[in-house]
């Protein structure tokens, strides 16, 4: 066991875990942040996506020892109150079925929108190809990302 200090959603947490423990299980078992999901454990489904230093990573593949250096954002910290444009769009378009994949979908989509605020269908397909949705809500996820882009653009217009 080793001690690590993690910065998650703006807060510091000390944990004492085996250094090879994937960040996913530290978040879920030690910190009680269960938004990131376990789907495959080998980087194939992206249910476990969180942001590390702003970039999307598969937390099931990232040993905690490698995650202690940068800021971590999970779905619980994407917005204070569920008001991120993607979260709003997801509710408005009723994207989820079972919902299990959706935190990972939203975190992947948030990373896409952060550098490409107006993605095309092809951009979306490329960026989201790592995320499996077993319930096959792909149609609505695509629409949800377009909707979130609109919401963000409208908000920007109001600000400027």
């Amino acid at each position: 066991m080793s001690r690590f200090t993690l910065r998650v959603n703006g807060q510091s947490h000390k944990v004492d875990v085996a250094p090879d423990t994937p960040l996913l299980w530290v978040l879920r078992d030690n910190l009680g942040l269960v938004g990131a999901k376990f789907g495959c454990g080998i980087g194939q489904c992206a249910a476990c996506v969180v942001h590390l230093g702003g970039a999307p990573i598969r937390s099931c593949m990232m040993p905690v020892s490698a995650a202690a250096s940068a800021d971590i954002t999970t779905i619980e910290g994407l917005s204070a109150d569920g008001s991120h444009a993607l979260q709003k769009a997801w509710c408005e378009l009723d994207v989820a079925q079972c919902g299990y994949c959706q935190p990972g979908q939203i975190m992947s989509a948030a990373a896409l929108l952060a550098h490409n605020p107006n993605p095309s269908d092809d951009d979306i397909d490329d960026a989201m190809a790592g995320n499996i949705c077993r319930c096959a809500t792909y149609h609505r996820i695509r629409a949800g990302i377009h909707k979130a882009a609109e919401i963000m653009a409208a908000a920007k217009e109001v600000r400027t």
Binding site: M1, G82, G99
Partner: protein, 738 residues
């Protein structure tokens, strides 16, 4: 199934008002006689001020309407749709409706989620519940005003006196309403569906805000104080017992609390409950996962250690050559004179179709949290059948079912897998041994290699068209691993000379329902072969299939329990889908349209797929159009469309990519790298869903939109390329053309 739909409501129900100690009106609806005793007990508890959720509706003095959702939410949207039905009849304001998930309790009646049965079983019940509560509230208002009840209307969370324009909010009527008797059942009037304002609209899932913020909704998210974490290793050859394991070595690993063999099968000789294995209990999920990598188990050989897919296929071919009446060849149906029909045929077509085993691959791996204390247990489980889970857990413990409390969590994908409760049995057995709350988590390999699979199958077909181009004979031999085709399965009853032969292959493979069981493969076999016959007859497939469906309306089933087939509903969806899809429009080479249609789970669905296949053989499904008849009322348009869109893409994923290989008595695939699921870039860009309303009771949508997809795509590929593919999945076949 149809008996339930046709049963008069009154015979299986009674209503009761309970006054809550905290103030408020509770309407209990007890749908099974054996539930009455429990309900009576719950009433006493309420009188003492306990807040046990013993009923579907609760209206608080503040006007909040709480509706209990009794069926597990698997992603089918039931937690939103059934409360909408209650709210519609009640005249509630949807904004002040709070939906609460009920736990397993007899007062709620049947609580499983499977077979697309929740809507057909509960739609009428929920309407009646809402309507009864509304009748009482209206009466309370009428008495308050000294006005006739007939002049009062409930809507938007209040009762209005139409002539005077006065109104009272529901919350202010609660005290009075609680003192009124339950009206006689036949005095409760249901709303005219013409006046529905909520049903048929688009309502977002009630848990969406929690889903998008990562709240702990799912089974795998549950925790208890003092909880430990477990894994359970089973033999890759199904059902084989562990003979020995390096338990001492595993127990010494960091974070490991215990490791032990469980050498039981519950129920005996069955592969879908508790089976023997090795448990590791640790301080964290990762400690348990890590320790498992060091675990070494000697397994007994098992019953079918050498079975393989290739050998099953060989056996199937042998059976196909055997004559009717031979060993393991059963005649399930015979109509007319086949020999004569084939002899006099204008064209005869022979083909064999096959499909592999596939997995449910629920994205949330199987899991369960269980706490056994003495002869009692409490479990938190993502189960589609909480009652079944309770029964199995009680068998494992050797205790009465009442001693097992089941907490139903949200479910990360069901598709039928979670009608079986093997993970519950395992967690209970492990917790019983360690005496602590135990969270059992399967990894993806457990999930793929210990699924209860959608079985593979082989169909050997011979069909004839006569000189007029009509389908005159159909001979089919189904070689199955579990259930065979039924005597009435389509196109039986529509072909004058018809023979169905059935055989079963001996195997030791656990099987279970997978979204639209049976239908999910039969539709593909039947509609593809019909397409072959239509082409052989030189007829347009839509026209050929409409002619086959004939001019009868209700085609009776065989025998007392036979299910009728409503051919006019099917013709209607086939016509509609052809029209909406622009069937028959000219398409360039490499593009094509195909038709699939099927009746299952009381729904009539037809789909047309439009595909592009490049000369190199790359497939793109450009567009899918669906015409769906699930009766008179779509409950939640958003949820209903989501189910159809999802079924279409799920059907495509299975038809295109999914396949388990069996070698040396076990499944070869181990994770999503070798068991491929469809991803967004391969999902159709356009899906159009048309609901066709008919005069029949509303039925479920979880399943019936899936079966037509595979044949629609395969037939479209034929139209595009001239290639007839007769095996699933598509990824096995080179589609290139020149």
């Amino acid at each position: 199934m149809s008996a339930i739909l046709e049963a008069p409501l009154g015979r299986r129900s009674f209503l009761k008002i309970v006054t809550m100690a905290g103030g408020g009106l509770v309407l209990g609806y007890y749908v099974r006689p054996e539930a009455r005793a429990d309900a009576a007990k719950a009433d006493v508890k309420n009188a003492e001020g306990s807040f046990a959720p013993n009923a579907f509706i609760r209206i608080g003095p503040d006007g909040t309407v709480t509706v209990y959702s009794a069926r597990p939410e698997v992603g089918q949207g039931i937690k939103t749709s059934l409360p909408m039905v209650v709210a519609e009849e009640l005249g509630a304001d949807w904004g002040s409706v709070k939906v609460v998930s009920a736990q397993l309790d007899p007062v709620f009646g049947p609580q499983f989620a499977g077979g697309s049965m929740s809507t057909p079983m509960d739609y009428a019940v929920m309407r009646k519940m809402g309507a009864t509560a509304r009748t009482i509230l209206v009466e309370a208002a009428a008495q308050t005003w000294g006005a006739p009840a007939g002049e009062c209307v409930a809507a938007g969370g209040m009762v209005r006196h139409t002539p005077s324009g006065r109104s009272i909010k529901f919350g202010d009527l609660v005290a009075k309403a609680s003192t009124l008797p339950v009206p006689a059942e036949d005095s409760v009037k249901l709303k005219d569906p013409k006046n529905f304002t909520l049903l048929g609209s688009r309502i977002g899932g009630v848990d969406n805000p929690k889903v998008v913020t990562g709240q702990p909704l799912f089974g795998i998210d549950q925790t208890r104080p003092g909880m430990v974490y477990a894994v359970y290793e089973k033999s890759p050859v199904w059902g084989a017992r562990p003979l020995s394991a390096n338990l001492d070595q595993v127990r010494a690993l960091p974070g490991v609390r215990d490791a032990f063999i469980i050498d039981r099968t519950v129920p005996e000789n069955e592969l879908t409950g508790l089976v023997p294995g090795v448990a590791i209990v640790a301080d964290s999920t990762w400690a348990a996962f890590s320790a498992r990598r060091q675990l070494k188990v000697q397994w007994e050989e098992g019953r079918f250690p050498d079975s393989s897919w290739d050998d099953f296929a060989r056996q199937a071919r042998e059976l196909a050559n055997a004559a009717p009446g031979a060993n393991n060849v059963t005649e399930a149906r015979r109509d007319g004179d086949l020999d004569k029909a084939f002899a006099g045929a204008a064209r005869v077509v022979e083909a064999s179709y096959s499909y592999p085993f596939i997995s449910h691959a629920n994205l949330e791996p199987q899991n369960c949290l269980a706490h056994v204390q003495g002869d009692r247990a409490e479990v938190w489980a993502p189960t589609q059948d909480p009652e079944g889970a309770r029964r199995l857990a009680s068998k494992v413990l050797g205790t009465a079912p009442e001693k097992v409390q089941v907490n139903i969590t949200r479910i990360g994908g069901g598709f039928g897998r979670r009608l079986d409760a093997d993970p519950v049995a395992e967690a209970v057995a492990i917790s019983q041994r360690v005496g602590l709350p135990v969270k059992l988590t399967w990894n993806r390999t457990d999930d793929l290699q210990h699924d209860h699979y959608r079985p593979g199958g082989f169909h050997f077909l011979k069909g004839a068209v006569d000189s007029k181009g009509g389908l005159s004979a159909w001979r089919s031999h189904h070689v199955a691993f579990g259930s065979n085709m039924g005597a009435d399965d389509y196109p039986a009853r529509f072909v004058p000379n018809y023979l169905l032969l059935n055989s079963k292959l001996e195997n030791g493979i656990p099987q279970g329902p997978w979204r639209a069981p049976g239908s999910n493969t039969y539709a593909w076999v039947v509609c593809c072969f019909l397409d072959e016959l239509a082409r052989a007859a030189g007829r347009d497939p839509v026209e050929f299939n409409l002619a086959l469906l004939g001019d009868r309306d209700l085609v009776p089933g065989s025998g007392a329990r036979g299910r009728p087939y409503n051919a006019s509903r099917m013709r209607n969806v086939v016509r509609q889908v052809a029209e909406k899809a622009g069937w028959g429009k000219p398409l360039s080479r490499g593009k094509g349209m195909g038709l699939g249609y099927y009746f299952c789970h009381q729904g009539y669905v037809a789909e047309v797929a439009e595909v592009t296949v490049s000369p190199k053989g790359e497939l793109r499904v450009d567009r899918v159009v669906a015409a769906v008849d699930v009766g008179s009322q779509i409950v939640n348009l958003s949820g209903a469309e989501n189910q159809v869109q999802g079924a279409i893409i799920d059907g495509l994923s299975a038809a295109w990519l999914q396949e388990l290989d069996i070698r040396q008595g076990r499944v070869v695939q181990a994770n999503f790298d070798d068991y491929t699921m469809l991803r967004m870039n391969d999902a159709p860009r356009a899906i159009e869903v048309h609901f066709i309303k008919t005069d029949y009771p509303p039925t479920g949508l979880g399943e019936p939109a899936l079966p037509p997809l595979a044949p629609a795509v395969y037939n479209a590929i034929f139209a595009a390329t001239g290639k007839r593919v007769r095996q699933l999945p598509l990824s096995r076949t080179d589609l290139s053309w020149s």
